[in-house]
Symmetry: D2
Subunit: 109 residues, 4 copies
């Protein structure tokens, strides 16, 4: 069984890298490069997710979605946000389902 | 404190929508439209994440990242995969950190 | 033979739509919605180009690339730029070829 | 005045690189890597276009749109298509304008 706290721990690790020596880790380096560098990675992993899905290799797809989530967490960290903020938003939507849920998201837009 | 099982429950809800009446819910409709329709949503939410980040509205950014994760979970569901597959991949990487972690991901590519 | 001035005329048509009644045409409406709405379309047509390429339908691919160019021209129009600005940049690169060309683009980045 | 045939010449140059030594030029190398490598570049340049637009640097934006068009032409070349195919499609749409034009594109979709 998967430890559901992996996201929480990952968020703490990412936050701890903020402001450390850019050469000390991949994440420290990416955070130091700044917002646009992180956004390029989010866009890149989104495209990789599309290509992996069309390729049909499930292991590859899982790795790309993990990369997409990972880099969106780096983005949140850059903004001072945490994985809990995303989980709280998904939790908030739990009571709202199906077509009503879609309508709700539309009306927020 | 956020219930860490929200992703697990969301994955179960998405899986239960598979094959149900496309008119019955947003997710059932999207799953029925198929892979390309889901991939268009992943790409759209990735672009929305970029725009929300540049806008600097943190609440908006959290909503867009939640949308991105949500639709990447719909994609996994379409492929018969679950949120646990992504969490397991993130967990697998936990022992590998910093520059070594990046090198590891590169060598898998 | 294709009239090479189609881009020039298209640029003029787009520029003429700027500031006109948003209800009067698709382009006037999109320009009135502003930069983020146009960027969403550029991102959407980029994703459609990927999907059409993987689908392998050449007519579909040509239509999506035309949509991508069209909406990038709407973006240039929004910024007060023209198709000639892009053609001039491509012309500027003409003398520079192969690996040297790539190196040149990299060093500008 | 810009030579409107720059796209035609660029298309011919790209076609001539097909099947040549991948080490001999950037384009030959990209064509040899294949469809997914080219699609990654199209997605990357689309994201760069978004970021350059938000940055507001017009020279940078023009360079990124030129990169986007360039790599979409490499994609067309990979599929055995030419810039003329895109220009012909844009020409075909010239008679159809405004809201009617949008409706027409929608009904093709």
């Amino acid at each position: 069984m998967i430890d559901a706290n992996v996201l929480k721990r990952l968020g703490e690790t990412l936050a701890a890298r903020k402001g450390t020596d850019p050469a000390s880790s991949y994440v420290a380096g990416l955070l130091a490069k700044g917002e646009d560098a992180i956004l390029r990675k989010v866009a890149e992993e989104s495209a990789e997710t599309l290509l992996a899905s069309k390729e049909g290799d499930k292991l590859h797809l899982v790795r790309e979605v993990a990369d997409l989530w990972f880099h969106s967490l780096v983005l949140l960290t850059w903004h001072g946000l945490t994985p809990d903020d995303v989980l709280a938003e998904l939790h908030r939507r739990e009571g709202i389902s199906g077509v009503a849920e879609k309508a709700s998201r539309k009306s927020q837009a």
